[in-house]
Structures are given as structure tokens and as C-alpha cells.
Symmetry: C2
Subunit: 165 residues, 2 copies
Amino acid sequence: MKLFFIRHGIAEERSPNQRDEIRKLTDVGIVKTKQVAEKLNILNLRFDLILTSPLVRAKETAEILLQAQLSPQIIETPLLAPEGILDDWLNWLVNSEYHQEDQAIALVGHEPNLSSWAEILLWGEVSYKLTLKKAGIIGIEMTQINKPKGKGKLFLYSTPKIFQN
Amino acid sequence: MKLFFIRHGIAEERSPNQRDEIRKLTDVGIVKTKQVAEKLNILNLRFDLILTSPLVRAKETAEILLQAQLSPQIIETPLLAPEGILDDWLNWLVNSEYHQEDQAIALVGHEPNLSSWAEILLWGEVSYKLTLKKAGIIGIEMTQINKPKGKGKLFLYSTPKIFQN
């Protein structure tokens, strides 16, 4: 199974007048996220499913990936919200139809969650070696889908800058 | 400064009748390495310099990168041979005209050297978390070019499979 951790694109600044959940991607964020999606397409990446956090900036990012035909579907889940917990998501996965070795799943969400989850799957613990920039991507091959922690293999890690020239 | 560690492509099998140094890329190795070079080109990666191990399979890989116009020049150096030592290469770098923050240098060579060097630059020690497949690439941003060990940031890590669809 391949997991792609993708952080949302550049969003509006936090403001005391606006709930965090409804912050949108900025115009620049939309353009840069589309550039990333286009490059992922050129690299022939395909997801069976995009899971996204319910926050607007994540949903907009997931929608851009969908429009670029990287995946046939999006599922919105609170498991990927900023307060989401890896074990809860792994429980969801095990009980889903996507718990298959040949699946490729994109998780669109937030930092520091995504890179922490990635590190736990790769190394069994959070070591703060990886970070995801906005619209950045981490690709992990899950070699053992039943006991995945610490068994993953990193096969893709890229900042959006790489994809935006 | 950006460093790109690139392992040579798929080469002829070892044979008691042939010196290791003259093993060539196979036809498949040439095709796959050209595919990687093409994708690096699409991503707009550019090197100011390709340094290569003097072994034939590395030199052929470097030549493919040059032909793809990823760099204007190749320098062959025994520092990147399988017995090369990171500190010797860092000494070379400090005394070269390429020891500048804006430089991008590709190092074409061998495992386990390249991923070990990358890990020392990233984390200060070899932790066997990264591996380079044939024609794979690791991109490191050297944030401190004078005392680089443990200060690097990983910005690109990719298996050739990603680039070969």
C-alpha cells in the first residue's frame, strides 16, 4: 500500500475575525497547488482515494488534486483534522475497503500531524526529521499493512518548490 | 547549496572475468536512466556541475544526465569511487570554486556511500534510513556550507520507479 501525505496549499492568514476552519487557499496557494498537481500527473502518480481533513483549506487542496484527475474520489473525514490521531485513522483503514496491498491513498491535511504520522510509520516514533511545506508531499510504501508502524519505506519526499519551476 | 546524490543506473552483473570498474550500464539501465533524466528535466532541476565516480557505470550515468542538459559539465573524481570518504570530498569542496551557497552539484556514484554521506549531512550520523536505488536521487539543501554535517535539509528523495511510468 502506498500512502501520500499532502499538506494543504498556502491559505489565508489566521484572523481573530474568522474561524480557522474556514480559511481558504489564497490565489497564490491555488496556483502553486495546481502546479504541484500537474507535476504529480506528469509523474503518473495515481490515488485510489483522496482522504481530506474537513477544513476548507484542505478540502480545496483535495479538490484541486481531484480536478487534475489524480484520483476518482474524495472522502472527507474528521480523522484528518488538526486534532486527528494516527491510531484512530489506522483503525478506520483496517476496517475499510481500502485496506489492501495494492491501494494508493492520499491524505490531505495539516502539520505537524502529517509529518509526525509519516515518521511513526517509517521509524516507529516522531523524530522531527521530516517536515511538510504547504502543498508538499511525502510518499510511504507500507510494506506491512497489518502492523505498519516503523515498517514503512520512504519513496518520495518533495517540497513544492521542486514542482513549481 | 544543493547537493543531488544520484546512484548509477542498472549495470552488468559482476563477473569473475571482468574488473568491477568497467561494468557498463545495461540496455535497460540506459533506458531507465534516460527516463529519470527526462523527468528531472521536466522538474527543471539544474546542476552547475556533475561530479562522477571514475567507474564506467557511473560515468555513463553522468553522461546521460549531461546529454539531457541537466548540467554544463562533468568532473570525474576518485573521491566518488566506492572507497571514497566524505571528509575527503568535503575538503575538496571547500577548496573548489563550487563552494558557494548558490551552487547545485550532482554527485554520481555508488551505494552504500551516497546514502551514508547524505545521512551524515542530514543527521550527523549514518542511521540506515535512506537507501538509493539504481538511478535514484536524494536532494539535500546544505544550509551551512562551512560546517555542513547534521545541518542539511532533505528536500527531494525519489526512487526511479516514480520517474519511470
